[in-house]
């Protein structure tokens, strides 16, 4: 079996990349980065494995945080939430789990599965169910392609564990988990039903940890070489710059628990005189210039600091920030008709159909995978 064993330098790169792929949401990667490095220093290991290398009947669990990022920066995890989740689900299933993965590569959830994996020495599959961040649990390529709704589980820092043995629909599962998360103080770790190696190989977005690493590597190399990190991101991702500008207006309101808002960006430099607006529903969803829609969900709209290439989350937006608005094609699996029903513009309440921006291509695995010694 070939593995990619992560170093602290790899964690730095992956954290930057997960931030960019967070499309404004998914929460900060900072705590995950600190925890992952602390675990490596304790002698634990984090091993990535490619989806194609997993045994077809392997049992894989998706792990990720659920809750409000603003709460998560105060009530930080206890550390063994993931271990308690695994134990609870293994007890329920009556068998061991072979690997874990993240349902969502974007933001802090791109690192979350690695922390549990390091503690119990399980490999992490280099794939996820979004290739970005989405606001709701059922918005994964796994649920879109029929992942079982049960069992699922939730664990908090205080020691509470909840196992959902039955839920009628993925949407109902999302409701149950979110309501319980509030009872747990608005921050918890969750897992959805186990998936087979074959299922993940077919319906996971492949090599998204590799993709995050490559984006982060490009940014760090550009910073070290005093080159433009935003250009480096574009070159690495195959995306385009929609605008370089500054934030001139940000309006936010909460509707049904989700932050909705609109960002207005006035162009600078070569883009002077242009104005771009971006619709926000926790993530950046739709980019418009005037009436014309340029990029729409599920294609990625990523906003980064013009100088450093650091991803800017929706909660960080402030008047005067100098930013670059980037557009990257969504992974192939998100652009299918069946996927668009769950994650296309209409799924977010818009009255228009998806028009792609750019050509989809799945990310390759990094060349760091080596035969296990």
């Amino acid at each position: 079996m070939k593995y990619w064993t992560l170093s602290e330098a790899d964690i730095d790169r992956i954290a930057i990349g997960c931030g960019i792929l967070g499309t404004g949401g998914g929460g900060s990667t900072y705590h995950g980065l600190l925890r992952a490095k602390a675990l490596l220093r304790e002698g634990k290991r984090i091993r990535m494995v490619r989806p194609a290398d997993m045994a077809p009947d392997a049992q894989i669990l998706g792990i990720g945080g659920i809750g409000a990022p603003t709460v998560g920066i105060e009530k930080i995890p206890e550390g063994s939430e993931g271990v308690r989740l695994l134990n609870a689900l293994e007890r329920h299933l009556g068998r061991k789990v072979d690997a874990v993965l993240g349902d969502e590569v974007g933001g802090g959830n791109g690192i979350a599965p690695m922390l549990t994996a390091a503690m119990v020495d399980l490999p992490v599959v280099d794939a996820d169910g979004m290739g970005r961040a989405f606001p709701e649990v059922q918005m994964t390529t796994f649920f879109i392609h029929g992942q079982a709704v049960q069992p699922a589980a939730l664990a908090d820092a205080d020691g509470n564990v909840l196992v959902v043995t039955d839920a009628t629909t993925p949407k109902m599962l999302e409701k149950l988990l979110r309501a319980s998360t509030i009872a747990m103080g608005c921050t918890a770790l969750m897992t959805t039903a186990p998936m087979s190696g074959d299922f993940v190989r077919r319906f996971g977005v492949p090599h998204t940890t590799s993709q995050a690493w490559s984006l982060g590597d490009a940014v760090m190399n550009a910073r070290a070489g005093k080159e433009d990190p935003v250009e480096a991101i574009l070159k690495q991702s195959g995306g385009v710059r929609l605008m370089r500008g500054k934030v001139t207006d940000i309006s936010r309101r909460v509707m049904a628990g989700f932050t909705r808002g609109k960002l207005t960006v006035a162009g600078l430099d070569a883009d002077a005189g242009r104005t771009l607006t971006v619709d926000i529903q926790n993530e950046y969803l739709i980019a418009r210039e005037g009436e014309e829609i340029i990029t729409m969900v599920p294609d990625l709209i990523c906003i980064v600091d013009s100088e450093t290439g650091r991803a800017i989350g929706t909660e960080e937006l402030r008047y005067g920030l100098r930013i670059d608005v980037l557009s990257m094609p969504a992974p192939v699996l998100l652009r299918s008709e069946i996927a668009l029903a769950s994650v296309g513009p209409r799924a977010f309440g818009y009255d228009f159909d998806f028009v792609p921006m750019g050509v989809s291509a799945d990310a390759p695995a990094v060349p760091h995978y080596k035969e296990d010694a």
Partner: protein, 514 residues
């Protein structure tokens, strides 16, 4: 009202004496190793120059980088016992996890993670663990530790646990200096805890420094209150500063920018502060410095203090000039050794000041010594300096539209004429002492940043209570309650949850109480 503003920089100590809004005198002297004797000398000179007696002065306002330097250099810091009130939560990231390896062992006096803390809605995570707190205190006391930082999860939602824990610590460790996180930082456990630990670590230095100022001022015959300027350009009374020295860490650039606003009457402008070694460029928005979106790192320690968004680069009066096929200016500087190193003073190093003297922009030293600088070379170097400022200015500006620029600091003599991208480039009177003037005119503020649950209350009532708390803090810091106004209020709904919780940050500003 007679006020003296003093700004203590790494090289120079500036002082300014103001009557109301009139600048009576300014003076620049050298910073001394003990800080206080340089401040005393500057105050004595400025009083003599204006012919004002010390007894007539109503207030002295000091901006100092003393505490920042202590952290950066890892000197004069004391070990801190760290008490985190958290129950089981937060243990994956223990205190000081993101400190630099050089500073951590200097400050780390041992951490105790004990029962306590609240959730975002104020409900208890775990009851306060009295027994564990007392055990930790006995251990710290046995090891000679006398500074304690207390940080509770969601202390800004409910500070009661921190206050209760402080009472227990005070019982077990009589005379200990206790820093409470809800008084020091904003929402975000790690950066707030870091700031609280830094504050506790500076406690003895804070007490000693303020004590030395008091003694020196008594010797000068000053009987008025003493204030220190903090990160946002507002003042805190000396007794408050003794307990919260960490609030002074970014006051330098803020004072310059506030002084520039005062001297020109402009509230929206670029401020270009050219010193001996560096040029700092920042933006004034509504009379205050624009702040950075990320929290400040102090000596490599992440905190969530809001500090001015200032771009600093190596250009100043002492910058070393190297002629060649592509001549360079800086980024290295002779710094405070300018009076012995520069050619015009008989030294052996060609500096930016020599260029300015040779071009006739300023009369310093002996111009005869600069005969080998050709007028063409001087003009070329001046143009190069101007272009480097213009490049940074362009990055900092909010838009491509021309804006006013204010040049301050002793090195401003290096720049002549209109800068590109500006509508007007002003060099006001007293430009060399804008930092001290900014300290003299400072107001007083109080800030709160908290998460509030709207269950069982209305949004209006919740906001009111936050603003009232900010107002109370402003008054505690020395503001005249009658003059307090709400300067900033920022409401951020919490994403991904159907609950009714919002994060509210409020800042109240008022005039100094007479």
């Amino acid at each position: 009202m007679l006020r003296i503003g003093v700004d203590v920089g790494g090289t120079n100590t500036d002082a300014a004496l103001l009557r109301g809004t009139e600048v009576l005198a300014t003076v620049k002297s050298s910073t001394t190793a003990d800080v206080t004797s340089g401040v005393s000398a500057a105050i004595r000179t400025v009083l003599a120059e204006a012919g004002v007696s010390a007894g007539a002065v109503n207030g002295v306002m000091i901006g100092t980088t003393h505490f920042l330097n202590a952290i950066v250099e890892g000197r004069h810091l004391e070990k801190v016992g760290i008490l985190r009130l958290c129950g089981a939560a937060t243990r994956s990231l223990p205190p000081m996890i993101d400190w630099p390896d050089t500073l951590r062992p200097i400050v780390d006096g041992g951490a105790a993670l004990v029962g306590g803390g609240v959730n975002y809605d104020g409900s208890e995570i775990a009851p306060l663990d009295d027994v564990a707190i007392r055990a930790a205190c006995r251990d710290w006391r046995a090891r000679g530790i006398s500074a304690v930082a207390i940080c509770s999860v969601f202390a800004l939602v409910d500070p009661k646990m921190e206050n209760d824990a402080a009472e227990i610590v005070a019982e077990e460790m009589p005379g200990a200096a206790i820093s409470l996180s809800h008084r020091v930082g904003r929402t975000g456990l790690l950066p707030r805890e870091n700031a609280t630990i830094l504050n506790a670590s500076l406690h003895t230095l804070g007490r000693d420094t303020v004590g030395a100022f008091r003694a020196a001022f008594a010797a000068l015959g000053l009987t008025c209150p003493l204030y220190l300027t903090q990160n946002d350009g507002t003042l805190m009374a000396a007794e408050f500063a003794e307990r919260y020295p960490v609030f002074t860490i970014a006051s330098g650039p803020t004072n310059s920018m506030r002084g520039a606003a005062f001297l020109t009457g402009l509230s929206d402008a670029a401020v270009i502060d050219i010193g001996g070694t560096t040029t700092d460029i920042g933006m004034l928005v509504a009379g205050f410095p624009r702040t950075r979106s990320e929290g400040a790192e102090i000596g490599g320690v992440p905190t969530n203090f809001r500090v001015p968004d200032v771009y600093s680069f190596g250009l100043g009066g002492g910058s070393i000039v190297r002629p060649g096929s592509s001549s360079t200016i800086g980024p290295d500087s002779v710094g405070f050794r300018l009076p012995e190193k520069a050619l015009c003073f008989g030294g052996d190093t060609l500096t930016a000041t020599d260029i300015a003297v040779s071009a006739g922009l300023v009369d310093l030293g002996e111009r005869d010594r600069l005969s080998r600088i050709t007028p063409e070379f001087a003009q070329q170097m001046l143009a190069q300096m101007k272009a480097s400022i213009e490049t940074v200015l362009d990055r900092m500006k909010p838009s491509a539209d021309p804006i006013p620029a204010i040049l301050v600091g002793g090195g401003s003599v290096l720049v002549e004429g209109l800068l590109e991208g500006t509508s007007v480039s002003l060099k006001p009177d007293h430009f060399g002492s804008a930092n001290a003037i900014g300290a003299a005119i400072a107001q007083v503020s109080g800030e709160v940043d908290s998460v509030v649950s709207l269950e069982g209350t209305t949004r209006e009532r919740a906001l009111e209570s936050i603003v009232a708390e900010a107002r109370a803090r402003a008054v505690e810091a020395g503001a005249d309650a009658e003059t307090t106004t709400l300067a900033e209020i920022e409401e951020t709904p919490l994403a991904y949850l159907p609950g009714n919780a919002v994060r509210v940050a409020a800042k109240v500003i008022g005039e100094l109480r007479a």
